[in-house]
């Protein structure tokens, strides 16, 4: 019945030839830069290709073939810098792009923090992190998987009346980064995703929800029927949602929503936010931000994980490290520029964090809800109401009202508000239901108290 996702991988579209081509493009860019008289320069070139299909109400809706390439160049004349990029990798376009970057550098100001990463921080070895698992499903195969996924959702319950469709996508990319310190690094990876978004309807109205599975390996995807049924279940559970009256209450963030709490945390300890004074966590290094049971760490070398990388966007070697240990902030998220601004060392985070993980606790989601007792279980957040300068937090939410550890009814059209500083300090427990589908890995999170605004 079920269409099995293949256990074997396909052949990489971008083989040695593509890597050689990209390497010669970045080398041509660095040579052109030297000819322009730069002190130092860096360049990155990428190729990517993929397929995306969407099947809606049993019919193919869209079929998209994607194929992208690009080059970006940054040049330094002493401490003045300029950047340029292009989608054209021809020799002439490479030279023009370097010239455009040099033109910009003529007008930018001296900034003694600007420059390449320090040579001794560049990655010396590039371990294979098992990120490349090409699939290249034939179009018919991609369609049949999406079809099966949507069909499972539509068949799940008579109240699943409509659909935005099920999508299957598969992408492969390769990038070469090089700089005039002599570093040349190649990274290649794949990303496959299957998702369904369906609509449940009753007399009270319509509700839409979705589910997705994503992996670097084709055989790492959940079964299509499981994804479809999960999407259907989520949409059905939302039917009959009501507003709550305004109150204060504890809240459990379901794991996918909890990832946003960690993303705000990263936003506040990024070098850019810190040196600009635009963070509520200025000067918090060595201070308690979370309760003592919390550990947050980066795992850049996890095999086949979505956020893995052996070097960052500047060629700096990545390494596992603790950001928060026993609740205390151990380190910031820095690239070379922001590190110099702060008179610190880069943490290998040019381009972001890698597999940020909050160490899961022992409680299952059910036990976490029991621990909360009566409060809000948030499954979706909308809006942009987070101010990283002040920590003020106010977002639209939907989910469930929980009484004595049991889900009582779905809720919507409410907001949750507080200050992130208090919310982090009030983090009661982390579930063991870790969501591994992204670069932030967390279980569901119980927060002591927030303000819920409703009717």
């Amino acid at each position: 019945m079920s269409v099995a996702v293949p256990a074997t991988s396909g052949v990489a579209v971008f083989g040695a030839g593509a890597r050689e081509r990209l390497t010669s493009v970045v080398e041509a860019a660095l040579t052109a830069a030297r000819e322009q008289g730069v002190s130092t320069a860096e360049a990155a070139a990428q190729l990517s290709q993929g397929l995306a299909v969407n099947v809606r109400m049993g019919e193919v809706e869209t079929l998209e073939q994607t194929r992208d390439k690009g080059l970006s160049v940054t040049v330094y004349f002493g401490h003045r810098t300029g950047s340029a990029s292009t989608t054209d990798l021809s020799a002439a376009a490479v030279r023009d792009t370097v010239r455009a970057a040099c033109t910009i550098a003529r007008y930018t100001a001296e900034d003694d923090c600007a420059g390449l990463a320090d040579p001794d921080r560049l990655a010396r070895s590039i371990p294979d992190l098992d990120l490349l698992h090409p699939w290249n499903p034939p179009v018919e195969r991609a369609i049949s998987l999406a079809h099966e996924c949507e069909a499972a959702a539509l068949a799940f319950d008579a109240r699943i009346t409509n659909s935005e469709g099920a999508s299957l996508s598969s992408h492969e990319g390769v990038e070469v980064y090089a700089n005039t310190h002599g570093f040349v690094g190649t990274s290649a990876g794949t990303r496959h995703r299957l998702s369904a978004a369906v609509i449940a309807q009753n007399d009270g109205g319509m509700q839409q929800d979705y589910w997705s599975t994503v992996s670097r390996r084709p055989d790492g995807l959940e079964q299509p029927t499981a994804v479809g049924e999960h999407a259907a279940r989520r949409a059905l559970q939302r039917l009959g949602a009501r507003k709550l009256s305004t109150r204060r209450a504890p809240v459990v963030y379901e794991a996918p929503a909890a990832a946003s709490l960690l993303s705000h945390f990263i936003g506040a300890i990024r070098g850019e936010s810190l040196y600009r004074g635009a963070s509520f966590l200025l000067d918090h290094l060595g201070r308690a931000v979370f309760p003592p049971h919390v550990r947050i760490h980066e795992q850049p070398h996890l095999k086949a994980a979505l956020g893995s990388a052996s070097f960052d966007g500047e060629g700096v070697a990545t390494a596992p490290r603790d950001l928060v240990c026993e609740g205390v902030l151990q380190g910031y998220v820095l690239d070379s520029y922001s590190a110099r601004k702060l008179k610190m060392q880069t943490t290998g985070n040019a381009g972001g964090v890698h597999n940020l993980t909050i160490e899961p606790g022992k409680l299952s989601l059910q036990e976490l809800l029991k621990t909360m007792g009566t409060g809000l279980f948030v499954t979706e957040l909308i809006g942009f109401g987070v101010n990283v300068v002040t920590g003020d937090y106010s977002r639209g939410a939907s989910g469930f009202w929980v009484e004595n550890g049991e889900i009582a009814y779905p809720v919507e059209e409410i907001t949750i508000a507080g200050n992130l500083r208090d919310m982090y300090r009030g983090l009661v427990a982390i579930g063991n239901d870790v969501d591994m589908r992204g670069n932030i890995r967390t279980g569901s999170i119980l927060i002591g108290a927030v303000t819920i605004a409703g009717s």
Binding site: R67, A93, A241, G277, G385, S394, G396
Partner: protein, 525 residues
């Protein structure tokens, strides 16, 4: 599932504060009244096509013969409709912080999107190599969709179609010498610092896009546009007694840097950003609960974009996934509420001479005196719903499929004095500035986040309160509009709308208006 608008600059990374989306201005920096120019003469369209031909086709060695050959390949299957979208765009950004312009970036993108439609299906491929063999390959991939469908014929003749003439076909990047761009940012910085000693950090950015597009359709239509777009933004951090706050302002539109900096409006953005930040230094915790809300004019019109705009896009209504599906002719707003989507306003950020499918933009009345009167359509959804396209088919680039999207969405003025509206509220919120908003089109629930707001007590604006998210239900929020002001204003040209991962520039606007009962997501229960 969730569609948003915000005022964060794209492609100019430096004026974002952390991951927070920066705040906005309601300062009128351009004409406050929507203006419209007459539809233009045949010449314009033809000249634009000539310019597009020279920029896009000639360097690739493509002429009418090659276009016909491509279309022939695309229409080999049973295809109802097909198009080619040629695009060349150049983007630049300059950013200042700590008193100096420390970085700048320049990018060039060019490519061709190739689409074939059969029934409800779309096949799509693109190439960033604008050469015939690559385009033939893309055409082969795109038409793979069409196992069924109609029988479009290869056009025997290409016909130039005219668009509007809402902006000049100029290259804004070349409109100002680079050293003057740097000087403008330095002046903004000085103006902000001169405003108040509590200003600790000033971040400012300038960005421009020059875009040339050519649409080649299977019905033989050729349509072209040359689109300038500029934007300036400034964010400040202020500090007093250990408390820090931020404020942001900006503006832009489809014109050149010269017009952007005319009359020192850019310095007003600097002062506005500082003013907002200082107001926020004094702000108390925001209230929580449902209460009357008075929205200021201009950018707070993101209410309309979220509460009704996305829900009235043709795709969601054809599929029946919008909370507004099947509600044409029904009352969805108070009787004095009229809302339009208008792509024909001269020089506006959300305006277009033609949409990205070659259809001239228009003024579409969405809600007239409270009654739902129209949806926004692209070609595919218009054909499937058997209605006329409305010039709302837009795409982020050649690498994306077009969809029904908004242009400039605003509510027409009413007849109330804004002061009278405020005076009518015993206890409520007066929100004049917003960050971004988001909507779930199926449930109709939407949010937008205030960044500058005040309490109204006994008919008077009393003290500032912190930013808070407002949440409501799209299909009924406008039925609770009880007063519409006479002070229609459009935003200053800062909005970016996201849908299915595609970002496009849009505009919003509204007069001051009062909503009797909207949920305010503060912390003071």
């Amino acid at each position: 599932m969730i569609y948003y608008i915000d005022n964060a600059p794209r492609g100019a990374p430096t004026i974002l504060v952390g991951s927070t989306l920066v705040l906005a201005t309601t300062t009128p920096i351009m004409d406050a009244t929507p203006t419209r120019r007459p539809r233009k003469t045949v010449d314009t369209g033809t000249n634009l096509i000539e310019q597009a031909r020279q920029s896009l086709l000639e360097p690739a060695g493509l002429g009418e013969v090659e276009l016909t050959r491509l279309m022939d390949k695309l229409l080999t299957g049973q295809v109802d409709y097909a198009d080619l979208y040629f695009q060349y765009s150049r983007h630049e950004s300059w950013s200042l912080e700590e008193g100096q312009v420390k970085s700048g970036a320049h990018s060039i993108e060019s490519g061709v999107g190739v689409r074939a439609c059969a029934g409800e299906k779309s096949g799509f491929a693109y190439s960033d190599d604008v050469i015939l063999p690559a385009l033939l390959e893309a055409a082969g991939a795109a038409r793979a969709i069409a196992a069924q469908g109609g029988n479009a014929r290869v056009p025997t003749q290409w016909r130039a179609s005219d668009g509007l003439q809402l902006y000049r076909p100029v290259d804004p990047l070349a409109s100002l010498p680079d050293q003057e761009k740097v000087a403008v940012l330095e002046r903004i910085e000085r103006a902000a610092r001169a405003q108040d000693p509590r200003v600790k950090q000033v971040m400012a950015g300038l960005a421009a896009v020059h875009e040339i597009v050519l649409v080649v359709r299977s019905d033989g239509t050729l349509a072209a546009d040359v689109r300038p777009l500029v934007r300036v933004g400034v964010t400040v951090i202020v500090e007093s007694n250990g408390r820090r706050e931020s404020g942001s302002a900006g503006g832009g539109g489809r014109f050149t840097y010269r017009e952007l900096i005319e009359g020192d409006t850019v310095l007003e953005h600097a002062r506005e950003a500082v003013r907002q930040a200082l107001v926020n230094l004094e702000a108390a915790d925001a209230p929580a609960g449902t209460m009357p809300v008075v929205l200021g004019p201009g950018w707070p019109g993101i209410l309309l974009h979220e509460a009704i705009g996305h829900g009235l896009e043709g795709d969601f209504n054809r599929k029946g996934t919008s909370a507004f599906a099947g509600r044409l002719g029904q009352k969805v707003a108070a009787s004095d509420v009229t809302v339009v989507d208008d792509g024909t306003l001269a020089g506006r950020r959300g305006s277009l001479n033609i949409d990205d499918e070659g259809t001239p933009t228009q003024r579409t009345v969405l809600i007239e005196n409270g009654i739902l009167t129209g949806y926004m359509q692209d070609l595919l959804n218009a054909r499937l719903m058997n209605v006329a396209p409305t010039g709302n088919g837009r795409r982020e680039s050649y690498a994306c499929l077009p969809m029904p999207r908004m242009t400039n969405t605003y509510m027409l003025a009413g007849n109330r004095d804004p002061q009278e509206i405020i005076a009518s509220v015993d206890r409520g919120l007066y929100a004049v500035n917003f960050g971004g908003g988001q909507v779930d089109i199926t449930s109709g629930k939407f949010v937008f986040s205030a960044s500058e707001a005040y309490l109204i007590e006994n008919g008077r604006v009393t003290r500032p309160v912190k930013g808070a998210t407002l949440i409501g239900n799209g299909p009924d929020v406008l039925t609770r509009v009880t007063m519409v002001g006479n002070d229609l204003k459009l935003d200053s040209g800062i909005g970016t709308c996201g849908k299915d991962g595609q970002s496009i520039p849009v505009g919003v606007g509204q007069p001051t208006l009062k909503i009797d009962g909207l949920t305010v997501g503060g912390t003071q229960a």
